[in-house]
């Protein structure tokens, strides 16, 4: 029998979900071992949130220079230096990685480097060594999916390879108009790539309120980012000159590259979960609302748990489970209250229910919505961004959804998060006239209008 060490908690995977649980548990005085095969920080830090947002900022800088004339600034865009862009991105990731490592070690979390498998409901084995926990948290995260018959390789890439490109493609096809596809489409377009998005569903960012989807589509059309919705992939060929993608409607598309961005699958294969009786569905780990798997003291957090695949959801779930184990009895997380941001140009940001979801919940005629156009918002005019803030309320009830489109509006989702999760009424927000001239004011103006006292708007 292998040698074994005991902890209050053993965590499998050191991504957003895993490390947040570890940090919180350590704060609460528990001994924690965290098993990681690659790097602490996981997908988000090393090949997800952070590097994409670094590229998107470089893209914003390029756009700003290209459009500088409008603002009276004479500037010339001499080119995109992809090695410079990459070293900027890598520098950001590196600095945050260093900070995170320091944090993890300062909290005395033991990081076990290596590939772990669940060998019993309370034990993870790594390189023949066993780590036993009074509690186990599964946090093995996700990987870039592909479609049946669509092989990744060469000019057919996923986000991992897209982040490491050392050149700007002249043209690219993006398969999938969800968050990741749209973010790459946006940044490549800013870098000068001719982009075409293929999306099977009827809209881009199809999980969002349809007003946001339509708004983003309008904005992308203006940006000359081509997209074809309700369009099903059928096959791809590649040679040294490029890729040719065919779709089920018989059309073909050619480009330098094909980015496959059709979603993320749970990284749970071959980890022993099923063998230990953990309830699973299509690879995901099923839990109750307290993130317990129903087996022993095994919990799961992050992208392996069905729902929003977002880093801060992982953080929140990780913190929740640590507090649950510590007996703090935290209130369950309301999934719809987690904010969602697509960091494209323009940003798409939302929290709470879409109009359609609200109608399902409260009844067709028990929902009131309001759209405030950024045309009336001074700061947005200054930034030359179009878009809107849409509020969804229960009739005579609180605001249950905040939906926003426009440059930089992702930053406002925190205010939306308070509004929705604290169940504020339009009147509560309207009473607090927002700072002038901010974009944030648009949220205030929307609330004023929804409360029946529009200030800078025509309703």
């Amino acid at each position: 029998m292998a040698e074994s060490q005991e902890y209050d908690i053993v965590i499998l995977g050191a991504g957003s979900g895993g490390y947040a649980a570890a940090l919180r548990a350590a704060e609460l005085g528990m001994s924690v071992a965290m098993v990681e095969a690659d790097k602490v920080g996981g997908t988000c830090l090393h090949r997800g949130c952070i590097p994409t947002k670094a590229l998107l900022h470089s893209a914003e800088v390029a756009d700003t220079i290209r459009e500088s004339d409008v603002f009276g600034i004479k500037g010339t865009l001499d080119g995109i230096d992809m090695s410079g862009v990459s070293s900027f991105k890598d520098g950001i990731v590196g600095r945050l990685y260093k900070g995170l490592q320091g944090l993890v070690s300062s909290r005395k979390v033991e990081v076990i480097q290596g590939w772990g498998t669940l060998v019993s409901p309370d034990t993870v084995e790594v390189d023949g060594k066993r780590y036993t926990g009074k509690n186990v948290i599964l946090a093995s995260g996700s990987y870039s999916k592909t479609l049946p018959g669509l092989e990744i390789g060469g000019r057919v890439i996923t986000s991992e390879q897209a982040l490491e490109l050392d050149f700007v493609p002249q043209s690219a096809i993006v398969l999938g108009g969800g968050v990741i596809g749209v973010e790459f489409a946006s940044l490549w377009s800013s870098f000068g790539t001719e982009v075409t998005i293929l999306e099977g569903l009827p809209n881009l960012v199809p999980n969002e309120d349809v007003a946001l989807s339509k708004g983003l589509e309008r904005a992308f059309r203006k940006r000359k980012i081509a997209f074809h919705t309700s369009t099903m992939f059928s096959g791809v060929e590649q040679d040294e000159n490029g890729v040719t993608v065919t779709t089920q409607d018989g059309k073909t598309y050619q480009a330098d590259l094909l980015l496959v961005a059709v979603g993320r699958g749970p990284a749970t294969d071959g980890l022993g979960y099923a063998e230990q009786g953990i309830p699973m569905e299509r690879g995901f780990v099923l839990t109750n609302e307290r993130l317990h798997t129903g087996v022993g003291n095994v919990y799961a957090v992050g992208d392996i748990v069905p729902g929003l695949q977002l880093a801060h959801r992982g953080f929140q779930q990780g913190i929740f489970v640590a507090e649950e184990i510590a007996g703090l009895n935290p209130p369950p997380i309301v999934e719809s209250g987690i904010p969602r941001v697509t960091y494209s140009e323009p940003n798409v940001a939302s929290v709470g229910l879409t109009e359609a979801q609200a109608k399902e919940t409260y009844g067709e005629d028990k929902v009131v919505t309001l759209e405030y156009n950024l045309g009336g918002n001074g700061k947005s005019q200054i930034l030359q961004t179009a878009g809107f803030v849409k509020l969804v309320r229960e009739q005579d009830g609180p605001i249950v959804g905040v939906h926003m489109l426009g440059a930089r509006l992702g930053e406002l989702v925190g205010e939306g998060q308070l509004i929705v999760n604290w169940e504020a009424y339009p009147e509560d927000v309207a009473a607090l006239v927002h700072g002038h001239p901010t974009q944030d004011e648009a949220l205030g103006e929307a609330a004023l209008a929804l409360a029946g006292k529009p200030l800078h708007s025509h309703n």
Partner: protein
């Protein structure tokens, strides 16, 4: 004195915001907390500025309700 002797009255389905009309303003957080703790805000005396009901007031009222003899099951 908090009205601890009051029998549990049926809760209103949802507290409405009480902006204006002379009533003390209740923040969303206080309204939500009161709903969660089953505290009837009309029975709570606010200790905040201008009689504003604060979180502490709701918590005290909830504690007082708990301490009160439980109604016959």
């Amino acid at each position: 004195e908090p009205a601890t002797e009051k029998p549990a009255a049926p809760e209103p389905a949802r507290e409405r915001p009480t902006v204006g009309a002379g009533t003390a303003y209740v923040t969303p957080l206080v309204r939500k907390l009161a709903a969660e703790k089953g505290v009837d805000l009309s029975t709570v005396t606010g200790s905040g500025v201008g009689g504003r009901i604060r979180k502490q007031d709701v918590e005290e009222a909830a504690a007082a309700q708990q301490a009160a003899p439980a109604p016959a099951a």
